[in-house]
């Protein structure tokens, strides 16, 4: 249905463009770069890039190599630090001054597509299909078009202190919580007031968000009996004195001091934890939970960080080539070696060096249990109500007495467009 709609829109757009082309002087179809360019006659291309602070130097280096590899361009790069979680907002604020190629979470692709701000990546598409896992490509696609090139999984898993837990204990959250670690030591920390974390419990309980495959905007089952059980589980967890809500880096500090058994975070937390704990640091997929009699692994959103191209870039071809270059196998390996960023390239999954890294292993192990983040723009309606639910539970304002009500109102907010 949606595909047909898109086709229709495109058709009409085509017609309109055709008319505009002959009728008025406003033919603003952009001439793609690259047609005429050749090594003898290099085309001047200026590209602005957004990258994270830890990748800054690496990006400079990669740009230089891209320039060498493409004699048909005379590239002029401008690199600015805008992190993966800031880029979407920056792009929305001012698409004209935004970067041509930037990093973003794959989860925001539907929203940006709807707003017409990202470019479909089609250059050399067949090669891309063979490079990355299907899950990664799916996460970066919408309506069958690829909008970003995935370069690392963007998800969270669990680190634990080997002095406090053994490898067997961290398989089940109940076992972990039951163990007595001493007076001022916490057992487990997570950010339940963050809507990027709380879904793991609901997915584990068998609830769905936007239907089984995450494409039905008016379907969310978080308020059924399973959802209620998940909510009650979370309330019990939060009220357990051995749990600590991770806010403003408190859990990281505790973990480094050895006063916390396990913490839910991602690869970004790894270097600091490793420095503090050394060999005592373990990393695993999320533990199982027993909700309403069923035992299942906590299942968070499978999300990827990807390179995307803005829709009004002046050099679409070069920008796409650059995005693909940034995310290719060689550069993923470099990124891993420098910043231990886990790769998405299929060919790197049997690299012994990478597979010996505990955080990468744990992350890849968790992708097994993760649920693809719904790739529809309705996901926008999910974040704030889910955050409100988590905050309400953490602050003790949502209790078992009003949980059902809260879940009902959550589902209502998540599934309806605010106004028709």
């Amino acid at each position: 249905m949606r595909k047909r709609l898109l086709a229709l829109t495109m058709m009409s757009a085509l017609t309109v463009t055709a008319f505009a082309g002959c009728g008025s002087d406003k033919s603003n179809t952009q001439k793609p770069a690259g047609n005429a360019a050749s090594a003898e006659n290099p085309q001047a291309v200026s590209l602005k890039l957004w990258t994270s602070e830890e990748d800054y130097e690496l990006t400079e280096d990669m740009c230089a190599r891209f320039d060498e590899a493409h004699p048909e361009y005379k590239c002029d790069f401008e690199i600015t630090i805008i992190n993966v979680d800031e880029s979407v907002e920056q792009l929305e604020t001012d698409p004209d001054n935004a970067a041509d190629v930037f990093i973003m979470p794959s989860g925001s692709i539907p929203q940006l597509v709807e707003e017409g701000l990202v470019y479909p990546i089609t250059y050399d598409a067949d090669t891309l299909k063979g490079l990355y896992s299907e899950g990664a490509l799916d996460a970066c696609s919408m309506n069958g078009e690829l909008y970003g090139v995935p370069f690392t999984p963007n998800s969270w898993f669990m680190f634990y202190n080997k002095k406090l837990f053994n490898a067997e204990e961290v398989k089940s959250l109940e076992t972990m919580m039951a163990k007595d670690l001493g007076d001022d030591t916490y057992n487990f920390a997570c950010s339940l007031s963050n809507s990027w974390y709380i879904e793991a419990w609901f997915y584990a309980a068998g609830c769905t968000l936007f239907g089984e495959d995450g494409t039905t905007p008016d379907d969310c089952t978080w308020n059924n009996a399973n959802g209620l059980a998940a909510g009650e589980y979370i309330i019990d967890l939060v009220n357990n004195p051995k749990y600590i809500e991770d806010k403003d880096g408190i859990a990281g500090s505790l973990m480094k001091e050895g006063k916390l058994g396990a913490i839910c975070t991602g690869t970004w937390g790894y270097p600091e934890l490793l420095e503090a704990l050394g060999d005592d640091l373990g990393a695993v997929a999320l533990p199982t939970v027993e909700i309403a009699g069923k035992t299942a692994n906590l299942s968070n959103f499978a999300d990827y960080k990807c390179f995307a191209v803005k829709s009004n870039t002046s050099a679409p071809l070069a920008a796409q080539q650059l995005a693909e270059f940034f995310a290719n196998e060689e550069n993923q390996l470099l990124r891993y070696q420098k910043n231990s960023t886990p790769p998405t390239a299929l060919s790197l999954t049997d690299n012994a060096d990478i597979m010996s890294d505990i955080s990468t292993c744990a992350l890849l192990a968790q992708t097994e249990f993760a649920t693809p983040q719904p790739a529809i723009s309705q996901i926008n309606a999910y974040w704030t109500p889910a955050e409100a639910l988590g905050t309400g539970i953490v602050n003790g304002e949502i209790t078992k007495a009003n949980l059902q009500e809260s879940l009902d109102s959550l589902v209502q907010s998540v599934t309806t467009k605010a106004f028709e």
Partner: protein
């Protein structure tokens, strides 16, 4: 000098005056004011050229807000899509508004040019000296100095305050919300629909609006008056006769004003967090066994913010009141002392009435300032704790103005933000209108006595 009106000038003027309605500045040029006349003409010509080349187009676009959506065409040859940029409703709206403002300015110049030409004609006919270019320039530093002085502010306010303001006001009458984001989508005029959504009682957004409005009013009144009275008390205390080291005391309290607000607020909010130093100390001292929800529980957060605001607001009032206290005539106090009035009586009979009389305008500005007190809320709680009862991300301590900010920054619901802005304006304007007219009455009464 007789007053010259636009229509009267046409009736009374000679043929040159009449033609100068079409060819601006002609009347001036004929009477010898060449430079001035040419300037008027130049303005007219630039405007006409602008309107023909793009102005008319802008006005047209303002009416439709764009018709052509962004589209894509696949280019087989190099294997990528080519994007055909569509119309951008937001820019259309902005350009349209700018064109209208420009037109209004030009119309004002037109009226001025007619008046100026007519004045030159009358001067010449009566045999007076028609001021030349140099004379007029001299006048700009003397009788007409206000023109020189106000020119820059006028242009600045026109371009960077009024134009954006009209643009935003108009936005409230469109459907420029999260689902209609340019450049991928067009938005269009929807009339008063946005206001209906906000004010009518049956949806999520009006279920947010009314409680937020209520808290805004409560906050404004409490924050203003608590700081006012306590600040006054502090100033009087420091200023009383027996206290030595007045300057040192004042400096201590002023420190909070001198440190940039965002720094002190950020620091205080970290101190009040559930693992912040205040909770840590309270537990260390044995006052509580677990962290108090200073900023995480709705009611607690509201009280906390009001108290923290005292910390910042009292010094400001204190300084202002100190200045006024110095100005209260000493004789008043001396005669009161002779009459045997105690400190309380002196305060209620002399200090307070005097203070209230003088500070009413300050109080009103302060009240309105507090309705729009963005910084305290934004840096302390960010509007939180968030709640499921409210529309997208609005929280329990959100004021209308912080909610407005969230709507533009986080939710991209510009139409609702604009409508909220208008509502805030109506609120502020009503309150100041009522209080100003009443305080005027007080002033008049004072005049009688």
């Amino acid at each position: 000098m007789k007053k010259i009106t636009f229509i009267k000038a046409f009736r009374e003027g000679d043929i040159f005056s009449k033609i100068s309605y079409l060819i601006w500045g002609l009347s001036n040029m004929v009477r010898g004011q060449i430079v001035k006349g040419l300037a008027f003409l130049a303005i007219e010509i630039t405007y006409i050229i602008f309107m023909i080349t793009s102005g008319v187009n802008h006005i047209e676009n303002l009416l439709t807000l764009g018709t052509q959506e962004q589209g894509m065409v696949f280019n087989e040859e190099i294997g990528i899509y080519e994007i055909a940029q569509g119309d951008n409703s937001m820019l259309f709206l902005l350009y349209g508004v700018a064109t209208i403002v420009y037109s209004l300015v030009v119309i004002a110049v037109w009226i001025i040019s007619v008046g100026s030409g007519e004045r030159a004609r009358i001067a010449k006919e009566n045999g007076h000296h028609v001021p030349g270019f140099v004379d007029e320039c001299k006048a700009l530093l003397d009788k007409k100095i206000y023109r020189t002085f106000l020119a820059i502010p006028f242009v600045g306010i026109l371009v960077f305050t009024i134009t954006p303001l009209i643009y935003m006001i108009l936005m409230a009458f469109t459907n420029y919300d999260a689902n209609h984001q340019p450049p991928g989508n067009l938005f269009k005029w929807v009339g008063l629909e946005t206001f209906r959504q906000i004010l009518s009682a049956n949806n999520n957004i009006s279920a947010t609006f009314w409680p937020v409005l209520g808290w805004t009013l409560v906050w404004g009144v409490i924050a203003t008056f608590s700081c006012y009275f306590l600040g006054m008390f502090l100033a009087i205390l420091i200023n009383s006769d027996g206290i030595r080291g007045k300057k040192i005391w004042r400096t201590i309290f002023m420190l909070t004003m001198a440190i940039p607000a965002f720094v002190s607020l950020l620091v205080v909010s970290t101190m009040l967090g559930s693992n912040g130093i205040i909770n840590v100390l309270l537990q260390k001292w044995g006052f509580t066994t677990q962290a108090l929800p200073f900023l995480t529980n709705g009611t607690w957060a509201k009280v906390t913010i009001i108290i923290v605001n005292l910390w910042i607001g009292i010094p400001a009032t204190m300084l202002m009141v100190t200045g006024i206290l110095m100005n209260i005539p000493k004789e008043l106090y001396e005669s009161a002392k002779i009459d045997g009035a105690g400190p309380v009586k002196t305060f209620t009979k002399i200090t307070f009435p005097y203070m209230l009389f003088i500070t009413t305008p300050y109080l009103i500005t302060n009240l309105i300032g507090n309705f729009n007190n963005f910084g305290v809320i934004y840096f302390m709680t960010g509007g939180g704790p968030s709640t499921l009862d409210y529309y997208k991300g609005a929280g329990k301590t959100d004021l209308l103005v912080t909610w407005l900010y969230k709507l533009t920054k986080d939710n991209n619901d510009f139409n609702y933000a604009a409508a909220l802005g208008i509502i805030i304006f109506v609120l502020s304007a009503t309150i100041s209108l009522i209080t100003y007219s009443r305080s005027k009455a007080i002033k008049d009464e004072e005049g009688f006595q």
